[in-house]
């Protein structure tokens, strides 16, 4: 116990030292830079304020992204250029094709499911009384890591051989309905959809909270006026509410799309990518850190990049439009 205490104290010491050093350096630099005057004042301020971020972004994102693109045209050890071989392997290999199909399934099913369910819940919440407790509970999985969520759902999907009692909730329900439970996580292609349910379970609360805020922001007098005109239920939603939350819905959908595209934790924790459930991100990790093939791993990362690009270009164009309108 003594050594335990001392190791932990020394770990915590590192935090205190790092944070203190960080602020101390900042203070000194601010003090010195503050001495600059006259024409030097602005350039010094820009250098000091923006410099650290630019260095970190360059070293952490810009240069690595270019390097990864280069690596994707090189062999396993990033020595020799091998042209498009990594990419042709990606498309030609049946296992990889399965990975790409799985990723496509993820980005088709989960953004729709989370956004639709989130929107439905947001509308229902808007109509009910005392919504806050329900809202918190629905939102709660958002605070749980995908790993934690996977553990939670492992106990739902657990399966025991028929001679033993079923301790998994899903198996028990299926059995009580008179059917035979199967080994869910091993059953293809059902297992991929079971993993998607975990994602939907975590992310729906997020979609709901954002959309709920958007619905509450719809001016009350517009809703009232159309209600007096006799619009209600589906009509009111279709003609008044939805058009006003449309842009938020698209943002939520795009966020879900990107999150599901990069998804790694659930697949890694639940199946390790086995039983036909692997996705690009998991395969990329496996290529680089398990099979030690940097070329193929980088090619997979580049594929992710290409998939994300149109979504973010759309977002950037929106942002630009907003800026010019404002």
């Amino acid at each position: 116990m003594d050594s335990f205490l001392s190791t932990n104290l020394s770990k915590f010491e590192q935090v205190v030292v790092a944070v203190a050093a960080f602020f101390a350096i900042l203070m000194v630099v601010f003090y010195l830079a503050g001495k600059a005057n006259g024409r030097k004042q602005r350039p010094v301020a820009i250098l000091v304020l923006l410099g650290p971020a630019m260095v970190l972004l360059t070293a952490g994102l810009i240069v690595p992204a270019i390097q990864t693109i280069l690596f994707s045209f090189k062999d396993a050890n990033s020595v020799a250029f091998i042209g498009f071989q990594n990419y042709s392997w990606l498309i030609g290999n049946p296992d990889m094709r399965k990975v790409l199909i799985n990723t496509l399934l993820w980005i088709v099913v989960t953004p729709f499911a989370t956004t639709a369910l989130g929107l439905f819940l947001a509308i229902m919440l808007d109509r009910m009384k005392r919504e806050s407790v329900a809202k918190s509970l629905l939102f709660m999985p958002m605070a749980i890591s995908f790993v934690g969520a996977s553990v939670i759902w492992k106990f739902v999907y657990d399966y025991a051989v028929p001679s033993k009692p079923q301790t998994g909730l899903l198996s028990a329900i299926v059995r009580s309905l008179g059917f035979k439970p199967s080994n869910w996580i091993l059953t293809q292609p059902l297992n991929t959809f079971l993993l998607m349910i975990i994602f939907i379970w975590v992310q729906t609360g997020f979609a709901m909270v954002i959309l709920s805020a958007a619905i509450k922001a719809v001016p009350a007098d517009i809703v009232e006026a159309s209600a007096l005109d006799g619009a209600h239920g589906w009509q009111l939603f279709k003609n008044i509410t939805f058009p006003m939350v449309r842009s938020t819905t698209i943002v939520v959908f795009a966020t879900m799309l990107v999150t599901s595209l990069k998804l790694f934790d659930i697949v890694r924790t639940m199946t390790g990518g086995n039983f036909g459930t692997s996705v690009i991100s998991n395969e990329m990790y496996a290529e680089v850190f398990v099979r030690f093939d940097q070329g193929r791993g980088s090619a997979l990362a580049v594929i992710l990049f290409v998939f994300v690009m149109p979504i973010l270009i759309y977002n950037i164009r929106n942002l630009r439009r907003e800026r010019t309108n404002a």
């Binding site: 790092a18 970190l56 990864t68 509970l137 028990a172 209600a227 938020t248 990329m284 680089v288 950037i316």
Partner: protein, 307 residues
């Protein structure tokens, strides 16, 4: 909203729809909470009970124990957790605190500069930084790891010496800081750019330089936006698996608790009873933060998504 007016327009229907909406929401809420509750209940059951009956039997046969938590926290000779998860929990805290503070400060500085120390191309630079969200973390992992272990060279010239921080906490703080910046700068810029112009100009007239304005005006006024992003970043770092797996080895020295939990899941069949308690220890802190600071958290998410 003036509910009364709508109610007079169509009284019966409104009351009915309120009731229906409430029922539907509560049904889904219960459905949503059952999996978490199941794990929570399991974590207080002993090994035999977990293996022989589903957790719902706690209602008919309540029999609780704290042994799983004891094994998880302080270790037990029978499981794979000889030393318990406390070192990993500590690592998570040690990783998270600087990995939240560093990007928040660096991003606030950059956001202020881009919003108020305008220069030629500052708007274009802002769009470029926003656009960097396009780079998936996956693309940075390998080159960044090489930078940490080998340094950067052009030909035989060393530009950056090897940092030797791979496998140390600094080797995890740094990637988290880098990856957080595009979103952080974007969110904080939105907020800081909307601060009143008069305030900045008055400070300039009083002879304050940019650093003084940043410390004494921008920082204090930006606290709501900073808090919102900090909570978002806290949850992101605490719940992260990919960055931790790549930059921290799985050892007691640096690996966060989420990595440990993921490795426990990998060990099929054995130690399920510790898995239950381990999962709850892992998610307890983010849940506490979430429930106590929910308002800020929601505000942070909103700032990022609605606009």
């Amino acid at each position: 909203m003036s509910i009364s007016k709508i109610a007079t327009a169509n009284p019966g229907r409104k009351v009915l729809s309120t009731k229906v909406a409430g029922t539907v929401v509560w049904l889904i809420t219960i459905l949503w909470t059952i999996p978490t509750f199941g794990l929570f209940a399991s974590s207080f059951r002993n090994k035999q009970d977990i293996f022989l009956s589903g957790w719902w039997h706690v209602f008919t046969n309540p029999h609780f124990t704290l042994s799983n938590y004891h094994a998880v926290l302080f270790g037990s000779s029978s499981s794979t957790l000889s030393n318990g998860v406390l070192p990993f929990l500590m690592n998570s805290i040690v990783i998270t605190i600087p990995a939240v503070i560093f990007p928040v400060v660096v991003a606030t500085m950059a956001a202020y500069c881009l919003a108020w120390v305008k220069f030629k191309g500052s708007d274009a630079l802002f769009f470029f930084i926003f656009a960097l969200q396009i780079v998936p973390i996956q693309m940075s992992l390998v080159p960044l790891l090489q930078l940490f272990t080998g340094g950067a060279h052009v030909g035989s010239i060393t530009i950056i010496p090897k940092l030797g921080i791979a496998g140390h906490f600094a080797g995890i703080w740094l990637p988290h800081t880098m990856f957080a910046l595009p979103l952080a700068i974007y969110l904080l810029h939105n907020f800081i750019a909307s601060l009143p112009r008069d305030l900045m100009e008055a400070a300039h007239v009083d002879g304050a330089n940019h650093f003084k304005i940043f410390r004494q005006i921008v920082l204090p006024l930006s606290v709501p936006a900073i808090a919102a992003f900090a909570i978002f970043q806290f949850l992101w770092v605490w719940n992260d698996l990919l960055v931790a797996l790549t930059f921290a080895s799985g050892t007691e020295e640096v690996a966060p608790i989420n990595v440990k939990l993921a490795s426990l899941v990998g060990q099929w069949g054995s130690g399920w009873e510790t898995l239950t308690a381990g999962a709850f220890v892992t998610i307890a802190i983010p849940l506490i933060v979430f429930f106590s600071l929910q308002r800020f958290f929601v505000r942070g998410l909103l700032a990022g998504s609605v606009k």
